[in-house]
């Protein structure tokens, strides 16, 4: 995707005004396939899509939670959770980001956090296979000890941090598994506003 030069852009904009009904739309259709590489594999995932202020959700759910999958064969937990969103936008800022939280449900039915992850929704149209790596805050040694014995674990006070670019480098984290996603992106009328796709 390239943003055209200003002159062309303006021309396009004028065109756009002439046909003002043609507004940029984005369809995000796909699924959260599953997760691998986690220490244990009775997992579920909470997901959400964060957009900037210029975006407006036309239909679909922008956040949700998958079922708990306990794979009996293999390491990968499969969710195949559908994502179907339809956005319209008046600007490019705040392109949709997908943020994920992978949770583990233990044998007592308790849930604990296993990883945070985040990735941009691809901006080029077509089918994309994404792998979103996840991480988990480590916490102090007391926390780690408690986690070994009684479960639970450190969580972010403000989960916005997953997708907001604050200085996360101070956090001590542990790498967790990856979440696999398959997203199809359909763009419409972006070329009218000087965005070549």
């Amino acid at each position: 995707m390239t943003v055209l030069t200003t002159e062309r852009c303006c021309k396009r904009c004028r065109n756009a005004q002439s046909a003002r009904s043609l507004m940029a739309e984005v369809h995000i259709i796909g699924q959260i396939i599953g997760a691998t590489g986690f220490p244990q594999n009775s997992l579920f995932c909470k997901w959400g899509i964060h957009t900037g202020g210029a975006w407006r959700l036309l239909s679909g759910l922008k956040e949700g939670q998958t079922q708990v999958d306990m794979p009996q064969i293999g390491d990968m937990a499969y969710w195949s959770h559908p994502i179907d969103l339809h956005y319209t936008t008046k600007g490019l800022q705040g392109w949709p980001k997908l943020h994920l939280q992978v949770w583990h449900q233990d044998s007592f039915g308790r849930c604990q956090l296993y990883g945070y992850g985040y990735c941009h929704v691809p901006s080029s149209p077509g089918q994309h296979r994404l792998q979103c790596a996840t991480w988990r805050p480590l916490g102090s040694w007391q926390d780690q000890l408690a986690q070994i014995f009684v479960g639970g674990g450190p969580q972010l006070r403000t989960p916005d941090l997953i997708y907001s670019g604050a200085d996360r480098y101070r956090l001590h984290t542990v790498a967790m598994g990856t979440v696999e996603l398959e997203l199809g992106v359909i763009l419409r009328h972006f070329d009218r506003y000087g965005v070549e796709t």
Binding site: M23, A54, K90, G139, G153, H172
Partner: protein, 1502 residues
Amino acid sequence: MAVEEEDPGETLRRSLKAKHMKRKKKLFKEMVLESPPDEENEETAVQEERGEGLQRDDSSPVRSPRDLPPRPVIRPGSSQSETSMKQRVAEKLRAAKSKTASLLEQESIIEPVSRLQSLRDRETLTRFDRDIDQDLRVDEDSSFAARLKFRGAARSAARDKRAEDGLPTAEEAYNFFTFNFDPEPQDKSRKQRQSRRREAEEEGEAESENEEEEEEEEKEEVETEREYEGQQLETRDEDAPLVSDVEEDLFVIGQSEHDFLEVRRAEYLGYSRRLQRERETVFVPSMRTVPASGKLPENVRPRYLEEEGLYVGERPSVSLTNRNILENRILKQAEGREWFGDDGRIMALPDPIKESSSRPPLFHLEDELDPALHTVYRKALKSKHANRYIAAMGDPQTDYQLDVDVSGLIFSHHPLFSREHVLGARLAQLYDQHLTGKQKKLTHLLTDKLNGLRNTIRNMLELHRGEALSQVTQHRIAEYKQEVRHTRHLRDVEQEKDRALLKNIIRVWKELKTLRDFQRFTNTPYKLFIRREMVDMDQDELEFNNEIVMEVSELRAEAEEDYQRKMSEYRRRHEDWKSWRRKQKALKKKQKKKRQQEDEDEDEESEEELGEEPEKHDSPEKPDMTAVEEQVREKATRIRRKPGEPVLIPELTVSGPVTPNEQCPRAEFARREDVAKRSLFIKVLYNDKEVSRTDSRTLNMDFRVHFGQIFNLKIVNWPESIKLQIFESVGSSSSQLAEVCVPVPESSVLTGSAPSEEMEFSSNQRVTFNHEGVGSGVPFSFEADGTNMQTLLTSGKLSCCVSWAVGMNDVPLAPPSNHPVGGVYSGLMQMDAIACIGASSLNDMKKLGKWAAESRLDPNDPNNASIMQLLSVVSGGEMAVPEYFRLEQLQEEFNFLSDEELQRSRRFRLLMLRSQEVPEFRHFKCVPSVEREISEKVFQEYERRIKEGEIIDTKDHIDAHRALVARYLQRVRESVINRFLIAKHHFILSDVVSEDEVPSIGVLGLNLFKLAEPKRPLKPLRKERKKVTAQNLSDGDIKLLVNIIRGYDIPIRRPYTSKPPVSARSARPFTEQFTAPVSSQTPVQGSDWPLGQPLIRPFVEVSFQRSVLQTSTAEGPNPCWNEEIVLPFSAPNGDYCSTSLQSFKDEVFINLFDELLYDVVEDERERGNTIHTRIERHWLGSIKIPFSTIYLQSRIDGTFKVSTPPVLLGYSKERSLGSDGGYDAIRSLSDGTFLSLFITIEPQLVPGETIREKMKEVKFDSQELERLLTACEVFEKEAGRCFSDRPCLTTVIDMNGKTVFVTRFIRPLNPPQKLLDAFPNSPQDTMELVARYVSLIPSLPDSVSFARVCDLWSTCDQFLTLLAGDEEEHAVLLCNYFLFMGKKAWLIIGTAIPEGPTVYVLTYEQSRYLIWNPSTGQHYGQYDIFCPLQTIGCLINTDNVWFNMQPYAAPVRMSFDVSRPKLWKPFFSRAFPDPGLSSVQVRTTRTNDSSFIVQNYPSHWY
């Protein structure tokens, strides 16, 4: 080879050497020292030799002359060197043998004797010198063993010769396999041999031994040779072709498998042997220290670098043994020495491990870290309540705590009150009021305010004296005056109240005193003193008069003003009138000129022309000033203290003596006993769960209970309700008196600062006693004659306080306040700023200022001072702050287009509305992708609806009342729908996982049985079809099947009695062509028609969704069609989901027609060869069946009444005379026309059952006891399990959205008196009239769009107010009316056709049951087969609910005797008794309703 390996050889050699030496020494000694023993010694030696010779005797050919001399053995495989050596050995052997033979020959003479002798001699000899003997014996033993061996070897050697011939003996074979030969390696023995040779050369003695060894060697050689041979043999075997030899035999049957197989024992290698073998192949380096010399090159001294002063790092530490092993191993290798350094140690680098860790530690102070990066440790939690937690995203580590302080309870009425207590309580209450009034000093305040206002007005007027008042001042004065009027009014009211209160207090006190006198004992300690406070007479009078004067003047001024205004108004109107008059006159003149007509007419006409005549107003009366004064005075005396009258101040004390128990009469004593028995406790319920309860406290004589307990509730869930339940216990049983809901405190309400609140409670229990206690809910009287009855209900005040706890460090343990708090404050809106705009928006200065302006905040009131100050401060600096804050500053620059344009997009709007599930757009499947394809019209309806929400459209409705009702219902319905929509998004397992049942063995068995079933059974049963889920359907897939079976009792044509005999146009019924002449001549009745003639030719036409189909024509009044009509079905918008199908409002119309054929042949002559008829269809009646009923019931089967017009011209219901009595009997029960139908949908659709189940999961609030609700759930579940098709109903949802137990709706209510009076003598007619009356109330289904998902029940009062309701409301009202009339009546919950699940009424009368349809007013007998009621699920009356447990649910086949628990399962039984539920119905319904209905619905008649 190894060093160790050498050792035993060496030792052996050494020992042998030593032996020889010894023997030699011995020999020398013996020879030297003694001569006689020498002989003997020789003897022994000879013996030895002889022994050898003896041994050799049997085998060796040397000895016997017959044997062949030994010849050299040359074998083909042996090498040349070997043979040569063997030859040499053999020669030697021969030489030795000859030698010994000669020796033997020398001594052979003494041989036979000496042998035994020598043995004996030796014995003796040994006795002589012992020290030698031991040695000797040992030697002999060894030699003996050697000899034995030798003998064996010799024998084997002898046998060898035979073996060469190819025949080993059995013994040999055995020895070969079993003997344990010493595994002496060849070269070792060679070495031995060499060394021995050397020795032999050295000493030249002991040849014999050498010989022995030679022998041994030979034997070994033989052995190796044999082994070799064996190998050869084996190889030969392997080389030989397997099959070629055996080929002939292989397939010969005679050979068994034993010929090919052999059994072998398991191979086992002995442990020691294995060790030995391993030792052969494995090298184990020794752990001994290697001497330094071994490690360094020769003649090099170790050199130590440290000693030379060079730095040598510390070597990594290795254990000594490991190092030794390594050194030993390295040394074995070629160039092993290279690994060693100059110091004789293995070369090594210094230890690489550093002492301290090189990774720098991460230091960060906690405060440095970005607060956003803080992590929280969270326990692993169950997610069950996750969404209901107070702070879903916030930190759960802070816990919230509610403190519930239950301090006490005061009864204002209790069933155990005596009459005196009642009065006492009243007195106390009045006194309380008095005290609070006094504390507030409202009267005083208002008076002050009034005076202040008056002063202000006066001051203003004085200030502007003589000058013209400015506009502003005038306005203000007017405002002040208004205020004065208002305040005065308030003050008057207040004063009146005060006075009335005082009067009441005194009256009650007097009553109390008389009562005490009457009953001659005292129960309450109340005592009232009235203090008189004398006042200054003159002063008082002055003030009084002043006040009156002021008021009068004000009133006068007001009246004057009023008069002025009215006058001006009058003048204006008068002017109008005058001008009109003038015009009229002018007109009149004109008209006079024109026409000559009467004056009045002209007047009227002119009126018509000029419009209506303006009223001619009378000039307003001048107000009567004197009357005003009188009024004021009169009022003053009424509400105010008279001047000079002393001020009365009542004082209530509780110090009076109470009569002790002994002096009381028995009834009173019993009451006090009863009081003492009672105790009270309070349960604290949080979110409808009991969290704690107080201790039980006994009830005191003064009916005050002090608890004083504080409960700390640590809460996780958001508080929804906090309830306190007051329980009274007598003995061990306890009952709930009342329930008090405490509002959830705002988060700013904290413990310590929160005031204790008094919550009033009351209970509508009915309690009566046989002692002095007045009871509760029962009327009683203070008078002796029983007049002036009073009914008091148990009530009182609970003083409690709920607040948020304050934790350590004074942190309030309250959740953040941004949660919406329901309208706790509603009434005080105007008075309280916080209530008006909410506590949270107190920071919003604008709002506050606005509120202050609106509510006319008194700036001088000290209560408002702080707010005023705040406002004045804020209003100054407000302008400087910009009014907006932009989050994304640069967004604007990069926007493609503006918000408005986005807003304008119709397509986006449509998409969003669809995803919000707005009813109009919910079913849109496809939204066009191009904007221009969406017309503006799409939104018109939606927008209109939105607008209509605001405006009441009175045109569509009969009057405003109905419009209001409709709006109210609409709102109720919307809230229900919203709940439903929420419920729809809660998925239950069956929504997500659809799992077909796996066929089990049982099913398989059943299927096998099915094979044996007849293909076409005599009595076919309808099978359950497979249900189709709605999602994968499209248009044309679904068909509606209507099977019309037969009709009953269709009206027949009436013969044309009054018809002219021959019609002018000769058009006559075709079917009557033969009978017409007859009938025209003789006026006969229909019954006279000849039998067999078609009286009627009916056919049925079914129309549904624009498709109309009809059956063929049958004949007669009871025709039989038995035809199936298939109608296509297409859903609205192509949406086949269950919700849209349920809300689908189309109906199936089934019309009954009579087909008439008219002969229209004009010419009689043509009759012969042309037929020209006209077919006429005469409509007889119709049936309407809503599609939703068919959908929900999946099939409809039964006989239905055809709704026919009351009068069918030309048709009559004639009974055929010939019909038999049995059939007639059934028909006589019900008159009407019937059709037997079977309707279903093909394929069968799954009705939206899941939605209803989900709705059950949505819990509604309830005031019922928890126990009752669970019992209901259990009852319904059990009912559903036994008979899933029978509806069971125990709880319903009322108009407020609360769950109510159903029997609460039943209560005798009086019908309008007019109806009861109509037929005083015929109760049957009265009942019918009442039913008719009820059925006239318009029917309005609960929610069309969600048919029967959620029934709302309204009480009869609400029903009559709303004048709309569905079947339930009609049935409840009818049932209640019947109960009032003294009938036995029940509600029937069942299914009927075509309504589906519905409610009917059952009455019992003169030993027969009648079923009433409340919506139509019709009634059916129990045995009426045409009764629309198909199934009866349960019966309900005031006391109980009964569920039908009988095998049949059709009313015809069942018994209505509810006293038999086997047939009817009661809800309240002995195990679970009726807790005494009170009714929700209002006691009396308004009686003017009937006239209301009659007035407003003139279209109905009765």
